[in-house]
């Protein structure tokens, strides 16, 4: 199985997953509406009571990007679990194609969905008064951070989809991913949290990821560390999650298939 075949298999799978995303109108509109609704709710409903030093919209944009990515990841986990429960994966596996191409398809479609959601968060934010101070280079770095983060989260979600086996179990994964960003600096600085939560917030992956974006866009982070320092920690987390989930997913795919 040559590299050319591997590439063509992956391309076919990407086309399939993107088509599936576009043809699921409920999920598609939820994915489009959610970033906008969340942005308006956080800024206009909660924002007035938040004390983050300055306008809340200037604080919350990176937090909403990771929150939406969490929703996106649960969609990916459900999509993988649905595939595994269907006979189609057996057919793919009985064909001379690269097993990884199925995941490349799901992860690429996930990346595309998340980029649309991210663009909507950013667009809505700019529309209601978000004023980042970033240079074009900093914008590019922030975008790169988002891509790396979404890739890591999507492969984790694909792995969860494989373990879960049913769409219902996979969507349970969403609950966990929805809560973790709240106990980070995504929506409020960690200093107001009680001791244990504060410690958790300081040491979980969403904080450095959010702070990297915040530092790049706004020039200062909520933790007080430099954006470059946060970026190193964020990239280490993402690399670790990527490596573990890809290894786990390929092992699971070989050993644990639809019964």
């Amino acid at each position: 199985m040559s590299a050319a075949y591997a590439f063509s298999d992956a391309r076919v799978m990407v086309t399939r997953c993107v088509k599936r995303s576009l043809r699921d109108p409920e999920a598609f509109f939820t994915a489009l509406l959610l970033p906008i609704m969340l942005m308006l709710m956080f800024v206009y409903v909660f924002g007035g009571a938040m004390n983050t030093g300055g306008k809340y919209v200037n604080y919350v944009v990176p937090g909403l990007i990771v929150l939406c990515a969490g929703f996106g990841a649960s969609a990916t986990a459900v999509a993988v679990a649905t595939d595994m429960a269907n006979g189609i994966v057996d057919r793919f596996r009985s064909m001379p194609i690269h097993g990884t191409s199925i995941f490349i398809g799901h992860i690429t479609a996930s990346l595309a969905r998340n980029m649309v959601a991210t663009a909507l968060v950013i667009g809505t934010g700019l529309g209601i008064g978000w004023r980042p101070t970033a240079s074009p280079a900093e914008w590019a770095a922030a975008a790169a951070m988002i891509v790396v983060f979404v890739l890591a989260l999507s492969s984790l979600a694909a792995g969860v989809g494989l373990v879960a086996r049913t769409a219902e179990a996979a969507s349970f994964f969403a609950a966990a991913l929805m809560f973790i960003p709240y106990v980070s600096t995504a929506f409020v600085p960690a200093r107001t949290m009680p001791g244990a939560l504060h410690a958790f917030a300081d040491n979980q992956p969403f904080t450095p990821i959010v702070e990297t974006m915040r530092g790049l866009w706004m020039g200062h982070t909520a933790t007080g560390a430099a954006a470059s320092h946060e970026a190193v920690i964020a990239l280490a987390w993402c690399a670790g999650i990527l490596a573990v989930s890809i290894a786990a997913a390929s092992w699971l795919f070989r050993h644990r298939t639809a019964a």
Partner: protein, 317 residues
């Protein structure tokens, strides 16, 4: 004689449950073999092993000349699998499904498109080609599934319970399609729990029960293994039926209909002897008919005892 499938000594356990116990299976090139058995007999496991989806614990197999263990890619290139559940993307149209499978078989894009068109026509799906597979009926779904299997012109086609859940009309239509594929020279390994299906389609039948092959041969060979004629005796009342049943012992009985079936060689003398014996026992039958044993009879005589044991255990629970 050439064999497209030649498997020997296949064993597989899931945990402590032995699913396949030393199964040998050979499918002659260009023929249809039916692997017939009740639910849980191990049919699907056997197909999944031969289609490279799971590894056997022991045993060897050659598929279209490729060794299953050492050259699974060669096997994958030669086979196609139509599983129990339609392996179709329900959000893609019929045509998109086939073109996708064609591309995954590494046909150039134009060739994949042409082949998809050909198969849509051949399987009577041209009118529905632009509709999403989710809108297809069960029968159409199975036809699309089969068409997807034929994209790469496989030498060997696995059909795992192809007509389960189909209505009578769709089933007969699918049988026609399968026969057509066999006429084109495709070797087919079919699993089914329907005796009629095995009888209708397959040249060779292998009966699988609880992980073991309990009989194999042509439908005719299997039927004649039970004796050439079955004599069916109908009794006037439950009392004489019961007394006759206890004297005949091993025969198949039906409490509700008060009938007893006895395998004979079909000669007048044998029937005469049977009747004389029943007369002597004071339990003459009301009516008598003879018929050739059906595959049902073979199947029940081979697996009936085991199934009855399982059934009574379930009742007890």
């Amino acid at each position: 004689m050439r064999y497209t499938v030649n498997a020997t000594g296949i064993r597989k356990s899931f945990g402590s449950h032995l699913v396949l116990d030393d199964v040998d299976l050979a499918v002659e090139t260009g023929s249809i073999l039916a692997l017939l058995g009740p639910n849980g007999a191990g049919k699907t496991t056997m197909v999944r092993i031969l289609a490279t989806l799971i590894r056997p614990d022991a045993g060897t197999a050659t598929i279209a000349g490729h060794d299953l263990r050492t050259n699974p890619v060669g096997v994958k290139r030669s086979i196609s699998l139509t599983g129990q559940y339609a392996a179709i993307d329900d959000k893609l149209t019929g045509r998109e499904n086939l073109e996708m499978m064609g591309q995954l078989r590494h046909l150039p894009r134009g060739a994949a498109r042409a082949r998809a068109g050909e198969l849509l026509a051949a399987f009577g799906l041209l009118d529905a080609a632009h509709r999403r597979a989710a809108t297809y009926s069960g029968g159409m779904m199975r036809r699309l599934d089969l068409a997807a299997s034929m994209i790469g012109r496989p030498q060997l086609l696995f059909l795992d319970e192809p007509t389960t859940g189909l209505d009578l009309h769709s089933r007969e239509q699918l049988w026609g399609t399968v026969r057509g594929l066999a006429e084109e020279g495709v070797t087919i390994l079919l699993t089914t729990q329907y005796l009629e299906e095995a009888d209708q389609l397959a040249e060779t039948i292998a009966m699988l029960d609880r992980g073991r092959i309990v009989a194999r041969g042509t439908a005719d060979q299997l039927k004649s293994s039970l004796g050439t004629e079955v004599v069916r005796l109908q009794f006037a009342d439950a009392d004489s039926y019961r007394r006759a049943a206890s004297t005949l012992g091993t025969a198949r009985t039906d409490d509700r209909l008060c009938t007893i079936e006895v395998a004979t060689d079909g000669s007048a003398a044998a029937v005469h002897e049977l009747l004389g014996w029943l007369e002597g026992a004071g339990t003459p039958p009301l009516k008598l008919s003879t018929h050739r044993p059906s595959l049902d009879d073979v199947f029940l005589s081979l697996t009936g005892a085991a199934a009855a044991r399982r059934g009574s255990k379930e009742m007890a629970r």
